[in-house]
Amino acid sequence: MLRLPTFTYLQPTSIDEALKMKQDAGPDGMYVAGGTDLYPNMKRRHQEPKTVISLSGLDDLHHVTINPAEGTAIGAGTTLSEIETHGALAQRYPVVTQATKLIATPLLRNMGTIGGNLCLDTRCNYYNQSYEWRKSIDFCMKKDGEICWVAPSSPRCWAVSSTDLAPVMVALDAQFTLIGTNGERQVPAGRFYNDDGIEYLTKRPEEILADVRLPAANGWDATYWKLRRRGSFDFPVLGVAAWVEWDGDTVRDARVVLGGVASFPKLIAAASEAIVGTDLNDDAIASAAQAAFKPAKPMDNTDFGLAWRKEMTRNYVKGALEELRNRHRKA
C-alpha cells in the first residue's frame, strides 16, 4: 500500500491562525483543503511538506454568497459537489456548474474544493510518477532534478495547467481574494497564474486563496469544453473556456481561454479579437479557431499525441463558439 510520509498535521480554526502556522512552518509548510491533489503528490513524494495545515475547518472559506447586482463570491473551501448542486449558482453561472461537473469523479468532487482546483499543481507524465519511477530516469527539475524531460534543452519546466476551473475563471474575469500576513488583496484570475510549470501561481506561498468573485451574471454567456480520453477521472488534455458579451446580435467583448496546453490557462487574445464585432458567423468562428490553434503548443507530457491535441484546439474552440452562437439565436 502506498502510504503518506510522516508530517505534522495542524487544524487551525481561523485564517489568522492558519497564516501564523504557515509562518512558523516556513517553506516546509503547506496548506491542504480537500487533499485530493496534495495527498497523492505526497504519497509519490512530489511534494514533501513537513507541516500540513488544513484549511477545511475554516468556516470563512466555506460559503456561496450571491449578490445579483454585484456578483457572486464562492468561498475557496466550498467543495466541488456543493458547487455543482447549488441551484442558484447553476441558474446564474451555468458554465461554472458545467465545468465543475466535468472535474475528476463524483467522489473526488465530494472532497475537492474550488480553491484546490484553482491551485491544482501543474501536471506532467514525467512528474506525476512514483519516487522510484522518477529516480529510474533521473529526477526532473520540478522535483529533485535539474532537467525538463519533456524538453531537455529547456531552461524551464513545461508541466501543464490541468485545472478545469482556471480557464473558466480567466474567461469570466473572476477576481480572487488572497489573504496573507499583510492583509487581503484582489487579483484578477488571469494574473493568478504564471507561465511556468514550477512557479505556476503568482500567489505568495503563505497567502490563502479565500474566495472567488464572479462578475454579475448579465449580458454575457460562456461555456467550457473539455477533451479527455474517458468520461470521468481524466484531467483535461485540452480545455476551452469561451465567454462572450452580447450587444444585441453583435459580440461586444469576448475571451477565449485554453487549458491543458500550457503551464497556465492561456488567454488567446487573437481569438477574442476575431469575434468581437461579429455576430459569431461561421467565418468569424473559423478565424477564432485558427487563432487559437496557432499558439497552442501542447507538449508530449499528457495523454494523447500532441499533434492531435493541437488539432483539436481548432475543433473545440469552434464547437464552443458555435454553442454560444446557437444559444443566443435561440434565446
Partner: protein, 179 residues
Amino acid sequence: MENSPNRPAGKVPISLIVNGEHTEIAFAPHKTLLEVLREDLGLTGTKHGCELGECGTCAVLMDGQPVLSCLVLGVACSGRSISTVEGMADGPTLHPLQKAFADLGAAQCGYCTPGLLLTAEALLLDNPSPTRQAIKEALAGNLCRCTGYIKIYEAVELAAAWMRGESAEPAREILYGQR
C-alpha cells in the same frame, strides 16, 4: 516532532462514529482513513486499488457522502460519522442494494463492490428513482474490471424499486439474456 518515517510520530487519539457506533481510537497522524479502518479497526471490508484517488475502490461514506478513504486523513475524521460496507446490513438482513447485488451477480470478484455499494447507497438516499444515466454519472468514479457495470446498474435499479416499496423482480432478460 521527529519526522523520519522510521520514527512514526506519536499516536493521536480521536473519537468518531463508525457504522453508528461511538469509537475512540489512537493512531499515527499520517495514516489515512483507509489505513485506520483496515489496520486499527479491523474493518477490512474497505478495499484499495491504487491509494491515489484513481479508482474509487476505497469509497466510504463520511457524514453520508461518499469519499475516498485513501485520501482522507484519519485525524481529519474526528467527530465525523463514517459508514463502511460492514455497517450496511441490518443485522442478518441485507440492505436492499446488497441483496440486489447478490441476486444479480453484480459482485463478481467483489473487490470494487464495497465502494460501489456505498456510493450507490448515497445516490439512492439523494435520488430514490435515478435514471440509468443518473446511475452512470453517480458511479463514474468507481472502476470495476469484472462486470462491465451492467449488472451493477440493474442491481441499483432493482434495489431502488425495493426501497421505494415496490415488489419488483428482475426482468427475464437480466437473468437469462435476450431470447
